[in-house]
Symmetry: C2
């Protein structure tokens, strides 16, 4: 039983959520499960061939300013990426395949920082390899494993699971049958978990 954190590496609002979720959940005594998935297939299911922030520029303009404000308030570094959306496929495969390894949360944060604070190309295997190495992990070997067919299949199935759950954007927090969409709903998801866990009403979904 946990709060599931469904995220996509190219998702802007997933960045502050990814940075702050672990510390917040730990301070509240709430377990979290990291659930990387791909937004591409989710958006295509809505008929969108690009990020809605690109398809609807007025919304995109708001989002970039809003994200800037949010990061400033949270004292999280932010630099608007020169390319958006980035391709988070390989990073998602790595964090999906090795999901239960203790280094994954720090790896996830490190990739988000690379994307949204350092404007690095997170689709690059060498960028990801050096992030893994700097966490004391064998980057090259892990990346090789993450590109095996069973790893690709795991992420594909997890993305299908996201669609089946009714997820349409990221970040989404899943607590039993309830979805909470958006970085600004993280606190509510944690609070929902705490109040419904005691009532035994939170079903295990994983």
């Amino acid at each position: 039983m946990a709060v599931e954190f469904w995220f996509e590496f190219s998702s802007t609002y997933s960045y502050p959520a990814a940075i702050r979720i672990e510390a917040l959940a730990q301070s509240e005594g709430v377990p979290i499960i990291w659930k990387p998935f791909l937004l591409g297939p989710v958006f295509r299911a809505q008929g969108w061939k690009d990020s809605p922030f690109n398809l609807f520029p007025v919304k995109g303009r708001y989002m970039w300013r809003d994200l800037e404000r949010i990061c400033e308030k949270l004292a999280i570094p932010f630099r608007r990426p020169s390319q958006f959306p980035s391709n988070g496929l390989l990073a998602a495969r790595i964090s999906c395949w090795f999901a239960t390894k203790p280094w994954v949360p720090e790896f996830v944060r490190s990739v988000y920082r690379a994307n949204f604070a350092e404007d690095l190309d997170i689709s690059s295997a060498s960028v990801l390899e050096s992030r893994l190495d700097s966490l004391g992990q064998p980057g090259a070997a892990l990346i090789q494993q993450a590109q095996l067919p069973e790893s690709k299949e795991k992420l594909r199935a997890q993305t299908e699971n996201a669609i089946a759950l009714g997820i349409f954007g990221a970040p989404t927090f899943v607590v039993g049958p309830e979805l909470f969409w958006g970085n600004d709903r993280l606190e509510e998801a944690i609070s929902w978990y705490k109040s419904h866990q005691q009532a035994g009403a939170v079903k295990q979904l994983t």
Copy 2:
């Protein structure tokens, strides 16, 4: 200088915002300006011919459940309207034309309750007339005035102003050059106003 509350009567998340904004703003000593507008032209500018909650049913399903949770938490009555979106044109004309009258905030709340708690047809002149009458106002006469060409023009211009400001959904709170989109950003808009008002950085937009 104020927090501008841009709302549309058919907008689901505008409902809790409309119900709670005045009491919250008063307790924080923050002035608000009520800014009804129409989402139809805004959505058409994005290429949408219906509410995105109807165009994208997965998002719609989430929204109805989310709204139900929000209303429950705020102890606001909620019944899902049998028709969505409703036609809020006449109600918007009334509240736009008479914007500065002291009965407008209570009228706005009353129409939102009719729509989202009582499942009444808020496009009906007789429904709106009885809401005005019950506030001690001459309903029939006010409705007649609200349908004069200068009233229609005022709402049309206000909706164009919304688009010019970069508003793409409702509710939106406008504080100087900053937009805050969504009921769950009301507190942040008020807090932004308070911190930037003292610094003299909030420009008057009206």
